[in-house]
Symmetry: C3
Subunit: 416 residues, 3 copies
Amino acid sequence: MHALAAELYPICRSITGNGVRQTLEHIRRRIPLDMHKVPTGTPVFDWTIPKEWNIRDAYVADCHGHRIIDFARSNLHVLNYSAPVRVNLSLDELKSHLFTIPEHPDWIPYRTSYYKEAWGFCLSHNQLLAMDGGPYEVHIDSSLEEGHLTYGEYHVPGETEDEVLISCHICHPSLANDNLSGITVAVFLAQYLSRLPLRYTYRFLFIPGTIGAITWLARNQERAQAIRHGLVLTCVGDAGGFTYKKSRRGNAEIDRAILQVLKFSGAAYQIEDFVPYGYDERQYCSPGFNLPVGCLMRSPWGRFPEYHTSADNLQFIQPRQLAGTLRVVIELVDVLENNKTYRNTMPYCEPQLGKRNLYRSTGGSDIGVDNLAKLWLLNLSDGQHTVLDIAERSGIPFGVLRDSVEALVNHQLLRE
Amino acid sequence: MHALAAELYPICRSITGNGVRQTLEHIRRRIPLDMHKVPTGTPVFDWTIPKEWNIRDAYVADCHGHRIIDFARSNLHVLNYSAPVRVNLSLDELKSHLFTIPEHPDWIPYRTSYYKEAWGFCLSHNQLLAMDGGPYEVHIDSSLEEGHLTYGEYHVPGETEDEVLISCHICHPSLANDNLSGITVAVFLAQYLSRLPLRYTYRFLFIPGTIGAITWLARNQERAQAIRHGLVLTCVGDAGGFTYKKSRRGNAEIDRAILQVLKFSGAAYQIEDFVPYGYDERQYCSPGFNLPVGCLMRSPWGRFPEYHTSADNLQFIQPRQLAGTLRVVIELVDVLENNKTYRNTMPYCEPQLGKRNLYRSTGGSDIGVDNLAKLWLLNLSDGQHTVLDIAERSGIPFGVLRDSVEALVNHQLLRE
Amino acid sequence: MHALAAELYPICRSITGNGVRQTLEHIRRRIPLDMHKVPTGTPVFDWTIPKEWNIRDAYVADCHGHRIIDFARSNLHVLNYSAPVRVNLSLDELKSHLFTIPEHPDWIPYRTSYYKEAWGFCLSHNQLLAMDGGPYEVHIDSSLEEGHLTYGEYHVPGETEDEVLISCHICHPSLANDNLSGITVAVFLAQYLSRLPLRYTYRFLFIPGTIGAITWLARNQERAQAIRHGLVLTCVGDAGGFTYKKSRRGNAEIDRAILQVLKFSGAAYQIEDFVPYGYDERQYCSPGFNLPVGCLMRSPWGRFPEYHTSADNLQFIQPRQLAGTLRVVIELVDVLENNKTYRNTMPYCEPQLGKRNLYRSTGGSDIGVDNLAKLWLLNLSDGQHTVLDIAERSGIPFGVLRDSVEALVNHQLLRE
């Protein structure tokens, strides 16, 4: 996963343009992505597909022609979506176009101006302090032209048409946790699932933030109704514990399933209530859709200092951390796939498990979790409780119950 | 407000009689009160309007004719509703008619005997200790005769016939917190509301405790059904934090609205569950009515030492404290008036607030409460959530949401 | 109660056989038990009535004929339900048939093997350590033959056919807390109730664990539907506080009633959620029945060291402790019998309690719990609240409310 992140890291992405297309091409080498192009000017609900942005070069050079700020060194140096500009300015004139982080004088901030035409440079505060009064040659060789918004979609068919949505934004340039981490976990999850028999159909979206989700929803308003569970993946590569932000519904199956997984994951975690701010869950959870889509993070966006700075780099996301997230998401899928409702075929008193060798003697006065799992399943499988309900009530890990379900189904004691 | 309290303080009030009428006349100089007279003997539900009580003079004099206890000095000195009496008694014979507070030897207690004919004197414990064996001349020049129960009603019409009830008892003599404080806050609130355009109709009751509320309810059984929210105001002038006692329903809109106001008031407060004991909320919340009426206090009755003693005087209620209560009640009215249910007219994804200048840039990664308020309103305005629901779920003060509602309604993004 | 326990203590009970019949005969001298016999081989739901087990003698003797382990000294010495055996074995060969408790080297464990034919001996660990290499003469003079499962039933008729079930298992040999304690409390409760006018019909079951409950339910599937409340009594004689395990429903009336009783009992107590493991509540609460049956214990089974050992003897259950349990169960019955729903006949405002002498003056500003009980009953008796609901909401003990109900009913202020 980290190798894929490293491959994508240098590309200058934005919400439109060549960087997005290159990124999707890289992903396409691993999973057979469908590519979608939506022309500039297309209305999508209350929004309009913007002009396509591309950039070739950008710099601020001193009177000797030395590039003081150079896009070639970091694509964060340019205010993302900067309009083209070529001017000579004194430092004083330039200053309102320069962005730094005084508290972290070595870091370059990441800034954007998608929907209001502007230009600017981001630089470390120390760089700024080293600049003299000028004049400076300022050049941004970018274009804002009719073009397309591009996104990728991958769909892994399952037994039913009910869908699980996995969505991640691909619009950030050289930022690792936000959101190469989400992209790589999604790609590897997709590869993993493509080899499995599945109950649900899985839909993976690799889209620019906000406008991408709005575009997909506008073009798939009907299909969105088939989404039974969904997850936005972002900031999942840092060293922090897990943060899950609930769907707007607050008690959707995915909200409960992830809690079940995190509880037994051994990792630190926190569950946060839905707020209508954050990533694309904002759009999926808008009141017209109200989809059961939550957001899985490690350190939540905006609450780690490296957020939206050059310090969110490849060292910030470690292979072990990406793998830990993938493991949690795979376990989540396991819960969703196996969370069914069964009916005890012998609901009057307990069936005699001993004569079927379903009751393992433990030798002590402790019954053993396997036996207890069977008793709970038999007791609550009245057609009103899912396996997840039983996991929550009994405190027994979902995986133990799932194995016991299999044994009981094989002995015709449970029926779906 | 304190001036009005000072004006009313010397009057000897009871549940009937001239004191009540004088009090209502004073209020009438400020708000156009409707006066109601109900004759002695009138049945009101399970009760009967009692005889009217009036008192001219009362004293206990020693053998030299010196008035040891003198009604002229404090109207608390007479057991309220004392029958007339003229006897000579030794101290021993007199004692069962004397009431003191040994723990507060300088304070005169306040005692009543409305429904059981009796007579008596209240005095400071030090006064009692100074009395010799007697004999004493005892004289209460009072009358218990056919007459009327009097109460005042003021009705501020609003856009709808749905009513908000503000009720306060006017039967206590020279006691400031209980309940000149409630009377003055109600009068000033009424003046304030009478100058505003209102959604609700507001009904102010100035009534004797218990029998007054019962009388009003008996005569307005049908009209009471229009009461959507109600508040009993009592003990609202002392230096304590606020105490709100919930309505019997426990989760009425007024119960939630006041919590919303108190949470952001900066004052200490406590919320108490309904109990069928206290002030006139007992009657409004009787099971046949079950009106959504709570009770707002500062220090709750019976739990401050000055309660029902001469120490509950004008110094005990400070102008700043009365004003603080009025402010809270006005904010409560603001919540009730503006707690409506809206519908997002663009419920699919977020509308683009930026292009409407509805999104104020804050410069940092913090979104700002104004922007967040708009996102919450858009997200939850699905016709199922009132503004108060949204305030509770988002933690954003009601006032901020109310202002954002206005902006969003102006841009046709919300519709009632 | 302790005398009855002492009478039953020496009998070697099991799930079938003469010990069970002798035990029921002893109980029958106190209450007119109906005896039921079900033949070996009868199917009861998923189970089958097993062969009847009886035992005359059992020992392990050394080469000198000395009985090292002797059933005559304690009936715990034999693995309950041991098949007959007569062999000579070395200690090594014998060991897999011997059971001890190394942590409590003086105690004899209690072990069973009902549904898997086996034989064995239980002995103290010190006894085992004292044994040499053998050889030993091993003899169990038992029989496993066609016969019957026997249980006793006592039914105390009440005003309605709605039933309260009291169930206790009678299958354990010389163990006092588990479950002579439950048997004796049930017998004395039955005697007590048989002399009272009752609203409910009470059914007492004295049955072997698991198979007995399954048998009764299989033979009374229809009648079981009349059970409104039920209690399994077990381990109720030790010195611990009370433990109540809730019914599967979790909020059945009995679950709430026992909490009400325990809260005011002065004893320590804990409430535990239902788990589908434990005593016969497992069967009553199986999903096909889902009866409102909880389980009352003092120290819960398996969580006191004496559990299923020879240390669970007559000293372990003290008369005072048995009596304390009986008192709690009698108070529980009082709640169930009196938990009715009333309607205030004067629901508009408070009725005037004073004129009916229903309001006791307390002289202070404290209203007194009796008066408060009346106000709560009048306020909440709207046909939607039972007396238990009112007890829970008001915090007033059920007994105080019950007495006030009587007074209010006598004055026609409440009607059932």
